[in-house]
Symmetry: C2
Subunit: 335 residues, 2 copies
């Protein structure tokens, strides 16, 4: 069996660490595993497939001989290293948003548009976390009839802000319970015992860049250039699963029964009809696993071609690391 | 100045206690204040306008001589005592949902349809908390053009479940931080570090009764019998303010600028454009005060006659106790 040389760029962050774990879990045939990070994290050790591996400082010479580079760094670093990665001949699967809207860069959720990944020119973009989870939840319905528009309200976990997001919520929870300073560094105001309806930077149309990702990226992933999405992104005091309440409007009327069947049949989705007596998932239920759980599918009372549903998925896994590794797996299996 | 005899039925609960506080704050001219509760709470003392007042056990004979009875009890108790209250000649302002859809019972948010209260036959219903807050936020827009439909996703505080809701979240927060048992008695599953997309009982149309209140009650309050509302009610780990992300669709196109002006001018609303550097409120900002704060008004990207906004309001105050006292104040001032 062919084995692959794989680098993880940003191996010390929350998503990078999860990528290493998912590579192991999926039994990806890895020959050399190269964890890369900034000079600050270099020299640290990680365990991979029973071996201790040292984190190396990422430089433009790091990528020679690699088959795949999984990127878990911010946009600036991603743009800096992408040319060297492409030049090395490796395929770069990038979790940042730096290249997601580049026409030549496939933007891929493997269960939805895996084949797009085969047309890469060296870079494949991993979509935004809420976008992946929402699109997975409605992709079964999209097979029955074209989705014309979606109204989405998110309930996003602090993991979207990485390790620092966890620490901030944990610190604020401790302060709320035991007293002490309520420190706010990562989020614009207190997140413990609160919700914050603003993620990212505001654009001219008064939506944030985070909110516009669901329309911009959804259009590319679904191959629906006219798709309209009205999104409100809200941070909630939850650790690592995102939830989304979404209303989809389709070209033709789809019944609740048809939608349930389609969601249940869609790979990577789990239809919740009776889980511990509930017909819905909560973010705690879906933490640290790879499926998108969908519940409460019902008719939209405002539009007879609409359906409303609730979905949850792990932000670090299917929303980031697992989707990236699944893209790599798709390429290995379909080349 | 005329003074009024006022009973509070359910004076020991979260809403009842808040009613007593609001009666004081609003300087309602109260002669006799009669706090009523179940036999279990009778004998306890409350402070009102500097006097100590003993809680009496509520019986059907309790209401003689009262001008107003503010109700903060569940549906069963409300139905039990309503005939005796009406017979006594007092006006019963009821926070339960027992009479909200009775055609002869006005359902009132004073700023929106205060005049309806004047046509009471002894009972006036106080609307559902999320409904009050959402309708207050969009009522200014409703004055510019008829609202045809709304899609609302709520972020509801635990105070909606009364004192027991507070205790459950506090206990679970302590268990999350310091260890110990994660006790779930009030909510269907853990609420600390989680969100729960199901409040109330599910109906045949797969919406919960809580979700249908926004359509059923909204139609009565706005005098729009055709209003369509698609609501998803979600409990979040927040103490006492509800938040709602709502998309309204109006008969005519309303610009963001017009909507902002209308919201800012609507009594009881506060338009947030720059509050501590934010153009949105959070539930913590709006706790323990009576205004509904509205931010992030922007165009609906799915419909050119739609607007999307975010609002927060204190569930125990404007969502319950303050609205009830405001109805009483309206009657005193407009009779």
């Amino acid at each position: 069996m062919k084995k692959y040389n794989v680098a993880v760029l940003g191996a010390s962050g929350a998503v990078g660490q999860q990528m290493l774990q998912v590579l192991e879990e999926y039994n990806i045939p890895v020959d050399t595993l190269l964890p890369l990070a900034s000079a600050r994290s270099a020299g640290g050790k990680i365990m991979f497939q029973g071996r201790e591996v040292e984190i190396q400082e990422a430089t433009e010479d790091s990528f020679q001989g690699m088959d795949f580079v999984l990127g878990a760094v911010k946009n600036g670093m991603s743009k800096k290293f992408a040319p060297a990665i492409v030049k090395s001949g490796a395929v770069y699967i990038d979790n940042s948003s730096a290249f997601r809207l580049e026409p030549e860069v496939p933007l891929v959720v493997p269960e939805i548009n895996g084949a797009d990944a085969l047309n890469n020119k060296g870079i494949i973009a991993n979509p935004n976390c809420s976008t992946i989870i929402t699109l997975m939840a409605v992709a079964g319905i999209a097979k029955l009839s074209t989705i014309e528009s979606m109204i989405a309200c998110t309930y996003q976990a602090v993991s979207g802000a990485g390790q620092a997001g966890f620490s901030e919520l944990e610190g604020q929870m401790a302060a709320a319970v035991n007293g002490g300073e309520m420190e706010c560094k990562v989020f614009p105001t207190q997140i413990a015992l609160n919700v914050i309806p603003h993620i990212g930077d505001e654009l001219d149309n008064l939506y944030t860049d985070e909110e516009m990702k669901m329309q911009n990226e959804g259009r590319r992933i679904f191959h629906l250039p006219e798709l309209k999405v009205n999104c409100t992104c809200v941070r909630v005091p939850v650790m690592r699963s995102h939830s989304i309440a979404v209303t989809v409007r389709t070209k033709d009327k789809i019944s609740v029964g048809e939608a349930k069947k389609a969601v249940a049949a869609f790979p990577g989705c789990r239809l919740i009809e009776d889980y511990k007596g509930r017909n819905y998932p909560t973010p705690l239920d879906t933490s640290d696993q790879d499926l998108v759980w969908v519940g409460r599918i019902r008719e939209d009372l405002c539009d007879d071609k609409g359906l409303t549903l609730w979905c949850c998925g792990d932000q670090i896994r299917k929303g980031a690391a697992s989707n990236a590794v699944q893209i790599m797996k798709y390429l290995i299996e379909n080349k």
